[in-house]
Symmetry: C2
DNA sequence: AGCGGATTGAGAACCGGTCTCGGAACCGAT
DNA sequence: ATCGGTTCCGAGACCGGTTCTCAATCCGCT
Protein backbone atom coordinates (compact mmCIF):
# COMPACT_ATOMS: atom_id res chain seq x y z
CA UNK A 1 0.00 0.00 0.00
CA UNK A 2 2.94 2.33 0.72
CA UNK A 3 4.94 2.31 -2.53
CA UNK A 4 3.24 0.59 -5.41
CA UNK A 5 4.72 2.95 -8.00
CA UNK A 6 7.50 0.94 -9.62
CA UNK A 7 6.27 -2.60 -10.10
CA UNK A 8 3.45 -2.90 -12.56
CA UNK A 9 1.43 -5.97 -11.88
CA UNK A 10 3.03 -8.68 -9.77
CA UNK A 11 2.48 -8.45 -6.09
CA UNK A 12 2.06 -10.79 -3.17
CA UNK A 13 -1.36 -12.47 -2.94
CA UNK A 14 -2.54 -9.87 -0.46
CA UNK A 15 -5.78 -11.78 -0.24
CA UNK A 16 -8.90 -11.28 -2.18
CA UNK A 17 -10.56 -9.92 0.94
CA UNK A 18 -8.06 -7.10 1.28
CA UNK A 19 -8.45 -6.12 -2.34
CA UNK A 20 -12.21 -6.16 -2.04
CA UNK A 21 -11.96 -3.99 1.04
CA UNK A 22 -9.91 -1.44 -0.90
CA UNK A 23 -12.52 -1.46 -3.62
CA UNK A 24 -15.27 -0.98 -1.08
CA UNK A 25 -13.42 1.92 0.47
CA UNK A 26 -13.07 3.53 -2.94
CA UNK A 27 -16.69 3.00 -3.88
CA UNK A 28 -17.85 4.53 -0.63
CA UNK A 29 -15.60 7.54 -0.95
CA UNK A 30 -16.77 8.05 -4.51
CA UNK A 31 -20.32 8.21 -3.25
CA UNK A 32 -19.38 10.24 -0.20
CA UNK A 33 -20.62 7.55 2.07
CA UNK A 34 -18.79 7.04 5.36
CA UNK A 35 -16.59 4.00 5.78
CA UNK A 36 -17.89 2.98 9.18
CA UNK A 37 -16.63 0.36 11.52
CA UNK A 38 -19.77 -1.71 11.04
CA UNK A 39 -19.59 -1.59 7.27
CA UNK A 40 -15.98 -2.68 7.45
CA UNK A 41 -16.69 -5.54 9.84
CA UNK A 42 -19.64 -6.87 7.86
CA UNK A 43 -17.82 -6.58 4.55
CA UNK A 44 -14.80 -8.29 6.08
CA UNK A 45 -16.91 -11.27 7.12
CA UNK A 46 -18.35 -11.60 3.67
CA UNK A 47 -15.10 -11.03 1.78
CA UNK A 48 -13.22 -13.58 3.84
CA UNK A 49 -15.85 -16.24 3.47
CA UNK A 50 -16.03 -18.50 0.48
CA UNK A 51 -19.52 -19.61 1.41
CA UNK A 52 -22.95 -18.14 0.90
CA UNK A 53 -23.83 -16.36 4.10
CA UNK A 54 -27.25 -15.47 5.41
CA UNK A 55 -27.83 -12.25 7.35
CA UNK A 56 -27.95 -14.42 10.42
CA UNK A 57 -24.64 -16.08 9.58
CA UNK A 58 -23.07 -12.65 9.32
CA UNK A 59 -24.47 -11.60 12.68
CA UNK A 60 -23.18 -14.83 14.23
CA UNK A 61 -19.74 -14.35 12.70
CA UNK A 62 -19.64 -10.82 14.09
CA UNK A 63 -20.54 -12.09 17.53
CA UNK A 64 -17.81 -14.68 17.30
CA UNK A 65 -15.29 -11.93 16.67
CA UNK A 66 -16.56 -9.97 19.61
CA UNK A 67 -18.09 -7.40 17.29
CA UNK A 68 -21.70 -6.51 17.04
CA UNK A 69 -24.06 -4.80 14.66
CA UNK A 70 -27.81 -4.37 14.81
CA UNK A 71 -30.00 -6.52 12.61
CA UNK A 72 -31.03 -3.53 10.56
CA UNK A 73 -27.42 -2.55 9.99
CA UNK A 74 -26.52 -6.01 8.79
CA UNK A 75 -29.36 -5.97 6.28
CA UNK A 76 -28.64 -2.41 5.22
CA UNK A 77 -24.96 -3.13 4.70
CA UNK A 78 -25.56 -6.30 2.73
CA UNK A 79 -28.01 -4.43 0.52
CA UNK A 80 -25.41 -1.71 0.08
CA UNK A 81 -22.73 -4.19 -0.95
CA UNK A 82 -25.10 -5.65 -3.50
CA UNK A 83 -25.89 -2.20 -4.82
CA UNK A 84 -22.19 -1.43 -5.14
CA UNK A 85 -21.76 -4.64 -7.10
CA UNK A 86 -19.43 -6.12 -4.48
CA UNK A 87 -21.82 -8.84 -3.44
CA UNK A 88 -24.63 -10.84 -4.90
CA UNK A 89 -27.85 -11.99 -3.36
CA UNK A 90 -29.04 -15.56 -3.74
CA UNK A 91 -32.22 -17.36 -2.89
CA UNK A 92 -31.85 -21.10 -2.47
CA UNK A 93 -35.45 -21.58 -1.45
CA UNK A 94 -34.69 -21.71 2.22
CA UNK A 95 -37.01 -18.93 3.16
CA UNK A 96 -34.26 -16.34 3.43
CA UNK A 97 -31.53 -14.83 1.31
CA UNK A 98 -27.83 -15.56 1.19
CA UNK A 99 -25.00 -13.30 0.15
CA UNK A 100 -21.68 -13.86 -1.49
CA UNK A 101 -18.74 -11.74 -2.58
CA UNK A 102 -18.96 -10.77 -6.21
CA UNK A 103 -15.41 -10.82 -7.50
CA UNK A 104 -15.25 -8.93 -10.73
CA UNK A 105 -17.65 -9.68 -13.50
CA UNK A 106 -17.38 -13.45 -13.36
CA UNK A 107 -20.99 -14.54 -13.48
CA UNK A 108 -21.43 -18.01 -12.15
CA UNK A 109 -24.36 -20.24 -11.46
CA UNK A 110 -25.34 -22.82 -8.92
CA UNK A 111 -25.96 -26.50 -8.43
CA UNK A 112 -27.95 -27.04 -5.26
CA UNK A 113 -28.13 -30.47 -3.68
CA UNK A 114 -31.58 -30.98 -2.19
CA UNK A 115 -30.22 -33.82 -0.10
CA UNK A 116 -27.24 -32.36 1.75
CA UNK A 117 -27.71 -28.69 0.96
CA UNK A 118 -24.29 -28.27 -0.64
CA UNK A 119 -24.15 -25.45 -3.13
CA UNK A 120 -21.53 -25.70 -5.83
CA UNK A 121 -20.89 -23.25 -8.59
CA UNK A 122 -20.19 -23.60 -12.26
CA UNK A 123 -19.59 -21.41 -15.20
CA UNK A 124 -20.40 -22.40 -18.72
CA UNK A 125 -19.63 -19.86 -21.44
CA UNK A 126 -22.32 -21.25 -23.71
CA UNK A 127 -24.88 -20.45 -21.07
CA UNK A 128 -23.92 -16.79 -21.31
CA UNK A 129 -24.25 -16.91 -25.05
CA UNK A 130 -27.63 -18.66 -25.04
CA UNK A 131 -29.14 -16.33 -22.47
CA UNK A 132 -27.82 -13.25 -24.24
CA UNK A 133 -29.41 -14.60 -27.40
CA UNK A 134 -32.73 -15.16 -25.69
CA UNK A 135 -32.66 -11.64 -24.27
CA UNK A 136 -32.04 -9.90 -27.57
CA UNK A 137 -34.63 -12.07 -29.30
CA UNK A 138 -37.17 -10.80 -26.78
CA UNK A 139 -36.16 -7.15 -26.79
CA UNK A 140 -34.91 -7.59 -23.29
CA UNK A 141 -32.04 -5.74 -21.62
CA UNK A 142 -30.53 -8.09 -19.06
CA UNK A 143 -29.56 -6.71 -15.67
CA UNK A 144 -28.79 -9.96 -13.97
CA UNK A 145 -29.74 -13.58 -14.13
CA UNK A 146 -30.13 -16.57 -11.90
CA UNK A 147 -29.55 -20.11 -13.03
CA UNK A 148 -30.16 -22.72 -10.38
CA UNK A 149 -30.09 -26.45 -10.89
CA UNK A 150 -31.72 -28.38 -8.06
CA UNK A 151 -30.94 -32.05 -7.69
CA UNK A 152 -28.71 -34.51 -5.92
CA UNK A 153 -24.95 -34.40 -5.88
CA UNK A 154 -22.61 -37.35 -5.56
CA UNK A 155 -20.52 -36.12 -2.66
CA UNK A 156 -21.75 -38.31 0.15
CA UNK A 157 -23.16 -41.83 0.29
CA UNK A 158 -26.54 -40.47 1.35
CA UNK A 159 -26.63 -38.20 -1.68
CA UNK A 160 -25.65 -40.99 -4.03
CA UNK A 161 -28.41 -43.14 -2.56
CA UNK A 162 -30.93 -40.38 -3.10
CA UNK A 163 -29.57 -39.92 -6.58
CA UNK A 164 -30.06 -43.55 -7.41
CA UNK A 165 -33.52 -43.59 -5.85
CA UNK A 166 -34.54 -40.58 -7.86
CA UNK A 167 -33.18 -42.00 -11.07
CA UNK A 168 -35.10 -45.22 -10.52
CA UNK A 169 -38.32 -43.46 -9.62
CA UNK A 170 -38.07 -42.07 -13.11
CA UNK A 171 -37.76 -38.46 -14.12
CA UNK A 172 -41.34 -37.29 -13.67
CA UNK A 173 -40.92 -33.95 -15.33
CA UNK B 1 -64.78 -39.68 -21.10
CA UNK B 2 -67.58 -42.18 -21.61
CA UNK B 3 -66.40 -44.24 -24.56
CA UNK B 4 -62.82 -43.60 -25.50
CA UNK B 5 -62.25 -47.13 -26.75
CA UNK B 6 -62.59 -46.82 -30.54
CA UNK B 7 -61.07 -43.49 -31.56
CA UNK B 8 -57.40 -43.29 -30.94
CA UNK B 9 -56.34 -39.70 -30.62
CA UNK B 10 -58.66 -37.03 -32.00
CA UNK B 11 -61.14 -35.54 -29.61
CA UNK B 12 -62.66 -32.14 -28.90
CA UNK B 13 -60.33 -29.75 -27.07
CA UNK B 14 -61.87 -30.61 -23.71
CA UNK B 15 -59.65 -27.99 -22.18
CA UNK B 16 -56.34 -28.39 -20.57
CA UNK B 17 -57.91 -27.62 -17.21
CA UNK B 18 -60.27 -30.59 -17.42
CA UNK B 19 -57.45 -32.93 -18.32
CA UNK B 20 -55.34 -31.64 -15.48
CA UNK B 21 -58.25 -32.13 -13.13
CA UNK B 22 -58.53 -35.75 -14.22
CA UNK B 23 -54.85 -36.22 -13.62
CA UNK B 24 -55.17 -34.67 -10.18
CA UNK B 25 -58.06 -36.96 -9.32
CA UNK B 26 -56.00 -39.96 -10.36
CA UNK B 27 -52.93 -38.87 -8.44
CA UNK B 28 -54.97 -38.33 -5.29
CA UNK B 29 -56.70 -41.68 -5.56
CA UNK B 30 -53.38 -43.38 -6.11
CA UNK B 31 -52.15 -41.92 -2.86
CA UNK B 32 -55.44 -42.51 -1.08
CA UNK B 33 -55.87 -38.84 -0.44
CA UNK B 34 -59.38 -37.44 -0.46
CA UNK B 35 -60.52 -35.34 -3.39
CA UNK B 36 -62.10 -32.57 -1.39
CA UNK B 37 -64.21 -29.71 -2.59
CA UNK B 38 -61.49 -27.22 -1.62
CA UNK B 39 -58.76 -29.08 -3.45
CA UNK B 40 -60.91 -29.18 -6.54
CA UNK B 41 -61.76 -25.48 -6.38
CA UNK B 42 -58.18 -24.37 -5.83
CA UNK B 43 -56.82 -26.63 -8.53
CA UNK B 44 -59.52 -25.40 -10.89
CA UNK B 45 -58.45 -21.81 -10.37
CA UNK B 46 -54.85 -22.65 -11.08
CA UNK B 47 -55.53 -24.93 -14.04
CA UNK B 48 -57.77 -22.39 -15.74
CA UNK B 49 -55.32 -19.57 -15.35
CA UNK B 50 -52.48 -18.94 -17.72
CA UNK B 51 -50.82 -16.55 -15.32
CA UNK B 52 -48.58 -17.00 -12.32
CA UNK B 53 -50.85 -16.80 -9.30
CA UNK B 54 -49.95 -15.96 -5.73
CA UNK B 55 -51.71 -17.63 -2.83
CA UNK B 56 -53.58 -14.38 -2.43
CA UNK B 57 -54.63 -14.35 -6.06
CA UNK B 58 -56.06 -17.82 -5.61
CA UNK B 59 -57.98 -16.79 -2.51
CA UNK B 60 -59.36 -13.76 -4.36
CA UNK B 61 -60.39 -15.88 -7.34
CA UNK B 62 -62.18 -18.26 -4.99
CA UNK B 63 -64.05 -15.41 -3.37
CA UNK B 64 -65.07 -14.13 -6.77
CA UNK B 65 -66.66 -17.49 -7.51
CA UNK B 66 -68.52 -17.45 -4.24
CA UNK B 67 -66.30 -20.20 -2.90
CA UNK B 68 -64.04 -19.96 0.08
CA UNK B 69 -61.08 -21.79 1.55
CA UNK B 70 -58.99 -20.97 4.55
CA UNK B 71 -55.60 -19.45 4.06
CA UNK B 72 -53.91 -22.57 5.38
CA UNK B 73 -55.84 -24.74 2.97
CA UNK B 74 -54.82 -22.64 0.01
CA UNK B 75 -51.16 -22.93 0.93
CA UNK B 76 -51.45 -26.62 1.71
CA UNK B 77 -53.19 -27.37 -1.55
CA UNK B 78 -50.72 -25.42 -3.63
CA UNK B 79 -47.87 -27.26 -1.94
CA UNK B 80 -49.65 -30.52 -2.65
CA UNK B 81 -50.04 -29.69 -6.32
CA UNK B 82 -46.36 -28.91 -6.53
CA UNK B 83 -45.53 -32.18 -4.83
CA UNK B 84 -47.70 -34.05 -7.28
CA UNK B 85 -45.88 -32.37 -10.13
CA UNK B 86 -49.03 -30.61 -11.33
CA UNK B 87 -47.82 -27.14 -10.49
CA UNK B 88 -44.58 -25.29 -10.12
CA UNK B 89 -43.55 -22.70 -7.61
CA UNK B 90 -41.80 -19.51 -8.64
CA UNK B 91 -40.11 -16.73 -6.77
CA UNK B 92 -39.86 -13.50 -8.69
CA UNK B 93 -38.35 -11.60 -5.76
CA UNK B 94 -41.64 -10.02 -4.80
CA UNK B 95 -41.54 -11.27 -1.26
CA UNK B 96 -43.99 -14.08 -1.92
CA UNK B 97 -44.34 -17.14 -4.13
CA UNK B 98 -46.33 -17.64 -7.28
CA UNK B 99 -47.73 -20.83 -8.71
CA UNK B 100 -48.41 -22.05 -12.18
CA UNK B 101 -49.82 -25.18 -13.78
CA UNK B 102 -47.12 -27.57 -14.85
CA UNK B 103 -48.36 -29.09 -18.07
CA UNK B 104 -46.37 -32.17 -18.85
CA UNK B 105 -42.63 -31.95 -19.08
CA UNK B 106 -42.42 -28.71 -21.00
CA UNK B 107 -39.80 -26.91 -19.02
CA UNK B 108 -39.73 -23.22 -19.63
CA UNK B 109 -37.90 -20.29 -18.15
CA UNK B 110 -38.62 -16.70 -17.34
CA UNK B 111 -37.77 -13.16 -18.30
CA UNK B 112 -38.77 -10.83 -15.49
CA UNK B 113 -39.05 -7.11 -16.12
CA UNK B 114 -37.87 -5.23 -13.05
CA UNK B 115 -39.64 -2.13 -14.32
CA UNK B 116 -43.22 -3.23 -14.98
CA UNK B 117 -43.16 -6.66 -13.37
CA UNK B 118 -44.21 -8.49 -16.51
CA UNK B 119 -43.09 -12.09 -16.57
CA UNK B 120 -42.68 -13.70 -19.95
CA UNK B 121 -41.58 -17.20 -20.69
CA UNK B 122 -39.20 -18.69 -23.17
CA UNK B 123 -37.88 -22.05 -24.09
CA UNK B 124 -34.52 -22.58 -25.67
CA UNK B 125 -33.53 -26.17 -26.47
CA UNK B 126 -29.84 -25.38 -26.20
CA UNK B 127 -30.37 -24.32 -22.64
CA UNK B 128 -31.60 -27.81 -21.83
CA UNK B 129 -28.58 -29.30 -23.49
CA UNK B 130 -26.07 -27.04 -21.77
CA UNK B 131 -27.57 -27.56 -18.33
CA UNK B 132 -27.75 -31.32 -18.81
CA UNK B 133 -24.11 -31.22 -19.80
CA UNK B 134 -23.16 -29.24 -16.72
CA UNK B 135 -25.05 -31.65 -14.49
CA UNK B 136 -23.37 -34.78 -15.81
CA UNK B 137 -19.97 -33.09 -15.71
CA UNK B 138 -20.52 -32.50 -12.03
CA UNK B 139 -21.96 -35.87 -11.12
CA UNK B 140 -25.27 -34.21 -10.51
CA UNK B 141 -28.73 -35.71 -10.98
CA UNK B 142 -31.07 -32.88 -11.91
CA UNK B 143 -34.51 -32.78 -10.35
CA UNK B 144 -35.55 -29.37 -11.53
CA UNK B 145 -34.02 -26.10 -12.53
CA UNK B 146 -34.78 -22.42 -12.51
CA UNK B 147 -33.50 -19.96 -15.01
CA UNK B 148 -34.53 -16.39 -14.43
CA UNK B 149 -33.34 -13.40 -16.38
CA UNK B 150 -34.01 -10.10 -14.67
CA UNK B 151 -33.95 -6.94 -16.73
CA UNK B 152 -36.10 -4.50 -18.60
CA UNK B 153 -38.50 -5.40 -21.34
CA UNK B 154 -39.54 -3.23 -24.25
CA UNK B 155 -43.30 -3.45 -23.82
CA UNK B 156 -44.13 -0.02 -22.51
CA UNK B 157 -42.54 3.38 -22.97
CA UNK B 158 -41.52 3.45 -19.31
CA UNK B 159 -39.72 0.15 -19.72
CA UNK B 160 -37.97 1.28 -22.84
CA UNK B 161 -36.84 4.41 -21.01
CA UNK B 162 -35.46 2.35 -18.17
CA UNK B 163 -33.83 0.09 -20.70
CA UNK B 164 -32.06 2.97 -22.35
CA UNK B 165 -31.07 4.46 -19.02
CA UNK B 166 -29.62 1.18 -17.90
CA UNK B 167 -27.74 0.67 -21.12
CA UNK B 168 -26.22 4.12 -20.88
CA UNK B 169 -25.27 3.73 -17.24
CA UNK B 170 -23.15 0.87 -18.47
CA UNK B 171 -23.33 -2.74 -17.50
CA UNK B 172 -21.62 -2.65 -14.11
CA UNK B 173 -21.25 -6.36 -13.71
C1' DA C 1 -75.99 -44.75 8.03
C1' DG C 2 -71.67 -45.40 10.38
C1' DC C 3 -66.74 -45.53 10.94
C1' DG C 4 -61.73 -44.25 10.89
C1' DG C 5 -58.71 -41.25 9.22
C1' DA C 6 -57.41 -37.19 6.67
C1' DT C 7 -58.71 -32.38 5.85
C1' DT C 8 -60.31 -27.97 7.03
C1' DG C 9 -60.52 -23.24 9.06
C1' DA C 10 -59.91 -19.36 12.32
C1' DG C 11 -56.64 -17.37 14.40
C1' DA C 12 -52.34 -17.43 16.73
C1' DA C 13 -47.62 -18.05 16.07
C1' DC C 14 -43.57 -17.66 13.45
C1' DC C 15 -39.92 -15.55 11.07
C1' DG C 16 -37.34 -12.99 7.64
C1' DG C 17 -37.00 -8.56 6.72
C1' DT C 18 -38.07 -3.35 7.11
C1' DC C 19 -39.07 0.91 9.54
C1' DT C 20 -38.58 4.34 13.27
C1' DC C 21 -36.23 7.72 15.64
C1' DG C 22 -33.16 9.30 19.31
C1' DG C 23 -28.37 9.09 19.96
C1' DA C 24 -23.65 8.29 18.09
C1' DA C 25 -20.18 8.37 14.52
C1' DC C 26 -18.16 10.31 10.40
C1' DC C 27 -16.11 13.77 7.47
C1' DG C 28 -14.54 18.02 5.85
C1' DA C 29 -13.62 22.55 7.17
C1' DT C 30 -12.25 25.72 10.67
C1' DA D 1 -8.44 19.49 18.01
C1' DT D 2 -12.79 20.90 17.37
C1' DC D 3 -17.15 22.08 15.33
C1' DG D 4 -21.36 21.32 12.62
C1' DG D 5 -24.09 19.12 9.44
C1' DT D 6 -24.99 14.95 7.61
C1' DT D 7 -25.30 10.21 7.76
C1' DC D 8 -25.35 6.09 10.15
C1' DC D 9 -26.49 2.98 13.93
C1' DG D 10 -29.28 0.13 17.16
C1' DA D 11 -33.19 -1.63 19.87
C1' DG D 12 -37.26 -2.84 19.21
C1' DA D 13 -41.77 -2.24 17.08
C1' DC D 14 -43.76 -3.54 13.06
C1' DC D 15 -45.02 -5.92 8.65
C1' DG D 16 -46.64 -9.49 5.61
C1' DG D 17 -46.24 -14.02 3.90
C1' DT D 18 -46.39 -18.53 5.49
C1' DT D 19 -46.98 -22.27 8.85
C1' DC D 20 -48.92 -24.25 13.02
C1' DT D 21 -52.72 -25.73 16.19
C1' DC D 22 -56.52 -28.51 17.13
C1' DA D 23 -61.42 -29.20 17.44
C1' DA D 24 -65.00 -29.71 14.06
C1' DT D 25 -65.89 -31.46 9.65
C1' DC D 26 -65.66 -34.01 5.45
C1' DC D 27 -64.23 -38.04 2.57
C1' DG D 28 -64.32 -42.62 1.05
C1' DC D 29 -65.59 -46.99 2.07
C1' DT D 30 -68.59 -50.73 3.91
Amino acid sequence: MSNPSTTVSTRPPLGCAAVMMQVLRGELRERELPFTHQREAIAQILFESTRHLSADDVAAALRQRGEHAGKATVYRTLALLVELGLATEHDFDEGFKRYETQVGAAQHDHLICTECGRVSTFHHPELDRVLAEVATENGFETITRQVKVFGTCSESAACRDAQRAYREAGPTS
